[in-house]
């Protein structure tokens, strides 16, 4: 690994002022390469793989946070990789080949957002049951959780089981 290459990957991103994370915007094709280069730089594991749903813009943003143990210099401790996916059929390459720690995180993103990770060794739902949530991905914005108002109604609330 050379210093120039290191700076190349890191310079692609911008430091976010609020929390000091390095934000790298990338594409589906580039995702694995970016991940691989980050791993070579010492970002040994993923902290979180999740997504944010933007139904108006018809996109789902895959957000990967990678981090390092035993930080030895003043590099950003957390790197955030953002990838825009097509909301109709979100498919992303798996990162389990780069970071084995991504296994359950990707399963969870599949579970909650329906993002299919291409090449994942064991892509099953992890937290929800397929029988109850067939084709439904609860963390997308079109899944609405009903909430009660603050006015008293006879028998308390419409959601009282």
């Amino acid at each position: 690994m050379t210093a120039s290459k290191a700076s190349e990957v890191l310079s692609r991103g911008t430091i976010r002022g609020k929390d000091g994370a390095l934000v790298i915007n990338t594409t589906v094709e580039e995702l694995v390469n970016v991940a691989r280069e980050l791993k070579e730089l010492g970002y040994t594991h993923v902290v979180s793989i999740t997504a944010i749903d933007y139904p108006q813009e018809n996109k789902i943003v895959l957000v990967v946070h990678a981090s390092l143990y035993e930080a030895s210099d003043d590099r950003p401790k957390v790197v955030e990789i953002r990838t825009e996916l097509n909301r109709e059929s979100p498919v992303a390459p798996t990162l389990t080949g780069v970071w084995p720690s991504a296994e359950f995180q990707e399963r969870e993103a599949y579970d909650h957002f329906g993002i299919v990770f291409d090449g994942h060794p064991d892509l099953r739902r992890v937290l929800l049951l397929e029988e109850d949530f067939k084709g439904v991905y609860p963390l997308r914005k079109d899944f609405v959780v009903p909430e009660e108002g603050i006015e008293y109604k006879e028998g308390w609330g419409e959601l009282r089981g």
Binding site: S72, E151, K153
Partner: protein, 179 residues
């Protein structure tokens, strides 16, 4: 790349669990374990009390128990219902369009947000936190019950928890000298 920043690296102390126990050490630790067990048989520490017959009264100054409404202070601003994270407080309309909160203890999580947000201090916590209800509907406290302190069961010995250096916790009867 491997420059170690002294301040953070010094925070870690690397240790080892040590070697496996030898036969003699094993015998010694067997004896010590048995001796300690016997010691605690003779001089027990007890952290339980006979709960329904003996009740520990919380010592916390701001204990978050069941909530009581002071009707005359309330101005019906509905902040308590809006801040309630569990939708346990809801507003009911009384005469002249005035609003008052009512509470459903089936849902209440005793976070105390409502008491802390009330701008007129019309809500306060009692020390009671463990009443028994016979059905779910009786857990809804309308104004008649919400404005009174909950009745405590009779024939209950009340104790207070005292932290103790030797025994961890001690229970002393409420009103005794050592309290």
């Amino acid at each position: 790349m491997n420059q170690v920043t002294a301040s953070s690296q010094n925070r870690y102390a690397v240790k080892s669990v040590g070697a496996r126990l030898s036969l003699v050490e094993k015998a010694v630790w067997h004896a010590r374990a048995l001796a300690l067990g016997f010691k605690r048989l003779v001089f027990p520490i007890r952290h339980t009390h006979r709960y329904p017959y003996v009740r520990a009264i919380p010592s916390a100054r701001n204990y978050r128990g069941m909530i009581v409404l002071l009707d005359e202070k309330c101005n019906g601003c509905s902040l308590c219902a809006r801040v309630c994270p569990a939708a346990a407080l809801k507003m009911i309309t009384v005469e002249q369009g005035e609003k008052r909160p009512v509470i459903n203890y089936e849902r209440c999580v005793f976070c105390g947000y409502c008491v802390d947000i009330c701008p007129t201090e019309a809500l306060y916590h009692t020390n009671v936190h463990d009443l028994v209800f016979m059905n779910r509907d009786s857990m809804i406290f309308m104004l008649d019950r919400f404005t009174k302190e909950p009745e405590e069961p009779e024939h209950v010995k009340k104790v207070r928890v005292v932290l103790d250096e030797e025994r961890g916790l001690r229970y002393v009867p409420v009103g005794s000298d050592s309290e």
